[in-house]
């Protein structure tokens, strides 16, 4: 029997400390196939194989087993929020979401339609922004069709004073902040701003990991040699480079070479030519026997949140939201990054259990469809004081970049395109 809203409410109110889920995964290419875990910055001098990955030793069956972190707590949280975003976009759930759209310029028009601003950034929401509803991007944006900066608007002000003792305002504006954690450290109260610890922790670890090597090379179909010609920056804006020094952009009377430093003037600066083969052992992937996915939703942590009213219903919604996030992310599969696709091992898909105060566990049944229903039922049961105002898929507030911010973003993109931006390379 699938868990329903009433049963979840019982768990939230009762003696259940947490809901834990475990799954065993394997590389999509089968056990023994290579996967690429997340990399970390290492000193250039460090040539130890696999130095870029976060290896660890685990005690399994009384022995030391080398394992590797395949997806961190923070990365998993981001994925779960993205999964919720997708469900919300499909209008399947009602959830307070604040959005800001960077794809179009707020004011300037061209040919009857709004000009493009930063389409690759697109729409950023309180689910996808790095610091959720407290993110600087939302803070520096305006309520749509108004001149008010977000944190000075009624909605923006409402959660400034939220705390664990009274989380009502934040619940109505960004309930995911109460599940994944939030620290409004750069808002009006600075470091003393709203601080909430996460209640949901998810991590994927590869078991019995051995690091490998990776090769890289490129054969140029045109077979352009390394020093075939000296190339310059083109004065004509539409061209990028030219081999003719007269048509080049000039600085102090001298033609500027395309590219920078060592590559200046070479065809490789504009991506022509061969790349000599190399073997990378520092970040050459790992082989694993299997990967363990562990996710824990602490109901005890949710019980520590205080509400002005409807505490039990609000906590039930948060628990349901947490479970929904887990299952939604699960259903999207674990395509973690390039060459890192994991699938559940046969018979080992995500299993949930309730962990009691004394350590005993009881299995729970829940799939994505049931989780969506569970969440919607819990939301419907919210009393007036904590109700979600908007319908499924409808934003709580839509923001636009201020003209000032839009102008600066456009200028920075122009600089980036001209190659002078330090961020590239």
């Amino acid at each position: 029997m699938s868990l329903n809203a009433n049963q979840l409410k019982e768990l939230v109110v009762g003696d259940v400390v947490a809901i834990r889920g475990t799954a065993t995964l394997e590389p999509a290419g089968g056990p023994g196939d290579k996967i690429f875990p997340p990399t970390h910055a290492v000193d250039d001098k460090n040539k130890k194989p696999g130095a870029k990955y976060a290896f660890e030793t685990r005690r399994i069956g009384g022995k030391d087993v080398t394992c590797v972190l395949v997806d961190s707590v923070q990365s998993q949280a981001n994925r779960m929020e993205e999964a919720l975003q997708a469900l919300w976009d499909e209008k399947k759930i009602a959830l307070p979401v604040v959005t800001v759209d960077f794809s179009k310029h707020p004011t300037e028009v061209e040919n009857g339609a709004k000009k493009d601003l930063a389409p690759e950034v697109g729409r950023v929401t309180s689910l996808t922004a790095p610091h959720r509803i407290a993110d600087a991007l939302l803070r520096d944006s305006l309520l749509k069709d108004s001149d008010q900066l977000f944190r000075l608007s009624a909605i923006g002000k409402s959660f400034t004073d939220a705390s664990t003792k009274n989380a009502t305002a934040l619940f109505k504006v960004c309930p995911t902040a109460l599940v994944f954690g939030l620290w409004d450290s750069t808002g009006p109260k600075g470091g003393l701003g709203a601080k909430f610890q996460r209640a949901l922790v998810s991590e994927i670890v590869g078991v019995n990991a051995a690091s490998g090597s990776r090769t890289a090379s490129r054969i140029d179909p045109l077979n352009i040699g390394k020093d075939a010609a000296v190339l310059y920056k083109a004065a004509d804006g539409d061209e990028i480079w030219t081999a003719n020094a007269d048509e080049a952009e000039k600085k102090d009377g001298e033609p500027i070479k395309v590219g920078s430093e060592k590559k200046a003037g070479k065809p490789s600066a504009v991506l022509h030519g061969n790349i000599a083969p190399s073997i990378d052992a520092v970040g050459g992937g790992v082989t694993i026997d299997e990967a363990k996915h562990t996710v824990v939703l602490s109901l005890a942590a949710l019980r520590r949140l205080g509400f002005a009213e409807g505490a039990t219903e609000a906590r039930t919604v948060l628990a349901a939201l947490g479970l929904l996030a887990v299952l939604a992310s699960e259903s999207r599969g674990h395509d973690l990054r390039s060459r890192c696709l994991l699938v559940p091992k046969k018979g080992c898909a995500l299993k949930l259990e309730a962990v009691m105060r004394d350590g005993e566990t009881t299995p729970l049944e829940l799939d994505l469809a049931a989780a969506i229903k569970l969440y919607n039922d819990a939301v419907a049961a919210l009393p007036p004081g904590v109700k979600f105002e908007k319908a499924k898929g409808e934003a709580l507030a839509e923001l636009t970049p201020s003209p000032k911010l839009a102008d600066l973003v456009r200028k920075s993109r122009a600089l980036a395109a001209a190659g002078a931006d330090d961020g590239d390379e």
């Binding site: 660890e56 407290a134 600087a136 977000f150 470091g191 350590g359 973003v409």
Partner: protein, 535 residues
Amino acid sequence: MLAIEVELLTGRYAATAHNDRGRAEWPPHPARFFSALVAALHDHDDVDQAERDALLWLEQQGAPALRVDPESKVGRRQVQDVYVPVNDVTLGGDEAIRKAEEKLIDAKTPAAKKKAQAALEKVQREAVAVDMRTSDKAVTTASALLPERRTRQVRTFPVVLPETPTFAFLWPITDLSPHRAALERLCERVTRMGHSSSLVRCTLVDGDLTPTLVPNDEGEVVLRVVGPGQLDRLERAFEHHLGVQNRVLPARPQRYGLASKKATPLPPVESVFSSTDWILFERVSGSRPLASRTTDLARALREALIEVHGNQYLPATLSGHAENGPTEQPHVAFVPLPFVGHEHADGALMGCALVLPRELPGPDRELLLRLVAKWEQERGSHRGDLTLAGGTLPPFHIRRVDVSTKAALAPMRWSRSSARFITATPIALDKNPGNLRSNQDGTARKATLEAQQSISDACQHVVGVRPVSVEVSLAPLLPGAQHVRDFLPWPGRPGRTPRVRIHADIQFAEPVRGPLLLGAGRYFGLGLCLPVEDR
């Protein structure tokens, strides 16, 4: 028995060691757990009095025993740098507006109000309107706001993965009835220990659990524990840091050792020097002298204290001088501590210690502690760093520590009981034994026997028993230790005969409790012996 069990729900414990940001803490420190209970106490604005009383009672119960996986059964994750996006990139518009609004409220006269209103409107316009003269900084800020290009800051997340995901704190209390219910309520509200990703289940358990780690002054493991007054201390500190600023957990260190079925009786043979009463200084920066400079460093340490003391009378137990010359009774030894005895030991001095005699009179001890405090206050940098320098010794910066992560600076490393000791720094012999390097038949052998006898006498003097065998050598016998020829002459003062120095491997019949400091230079770092495993 009061037993509180903690289960690591995610199977991992993410807490940074208090004295090493690059390392995860294990075993979990009782002081950290007490702080979690205090945080749970303050969940509600109205603190429950019964719960408060329970914690006031708990802090009086002393250091708990632990039931926890030992280091050998614990896996660790490599600590890698993780770059997390920051949130303090901003164009600052809303802050400026808020300030202008406050000014408007504060304005008293109609004229001031009008001015403030105009200023507010100006700031409001500027916050959103396009700036005609954009600065490079503003452009960079705007670019850094976008999620893909957000500035990132380095953080580390040290993580430990124990084989058993549960551990427990145990107190030998038979009756906890007045506080049981309150403690249970508090434990229910402990949802994490350490980093927020270390979600836990915490509960009182009935029945007796067997401890694996118990408080033991000879133990190798040091954990932070709480004592009476901790709750008050934490609450008062919170008023300052408000859960936001960097702070250090007030706690006291407690040594723990493995719980064993029968208590090992303390060996009856002890050194005249105290095995635990040491004042430790850890090297923080400056030169990295090797053990061969030990006497220079020891002298510099002594000079520093004498200088701070001024010209007043210092008791013989501290200065080593009675009215008519050097005193016979044991006095404070100035001992630089080298890194020796490990596979990768390089013999570098990791710090130094003032090793007090076991039977140092109370007032003399007080005087010494006051002297050290005075030295820190008058000569210490704002971070508490002190400098030792002098003669040919380049400046060596140290800081006093209660407990250090460096193995060489753990008193137990030098003081634990053992039947066999090997010199880390050579012993300066009281009497010249003869020519140890002689090629002539018999001379070297005779000198060796003399040297062995001399060392045996020294042992008798310091620990009261003679060794069963002494092997001597001019070459070092421990990894990291240095050849005697690398050491400067001792005493190295004009008119004083330089002593012959020699390394030794000393075997006793029964275990002896250290520290073993032997020979003429024992108050100045020579003759420091490391307890090692028996052959």
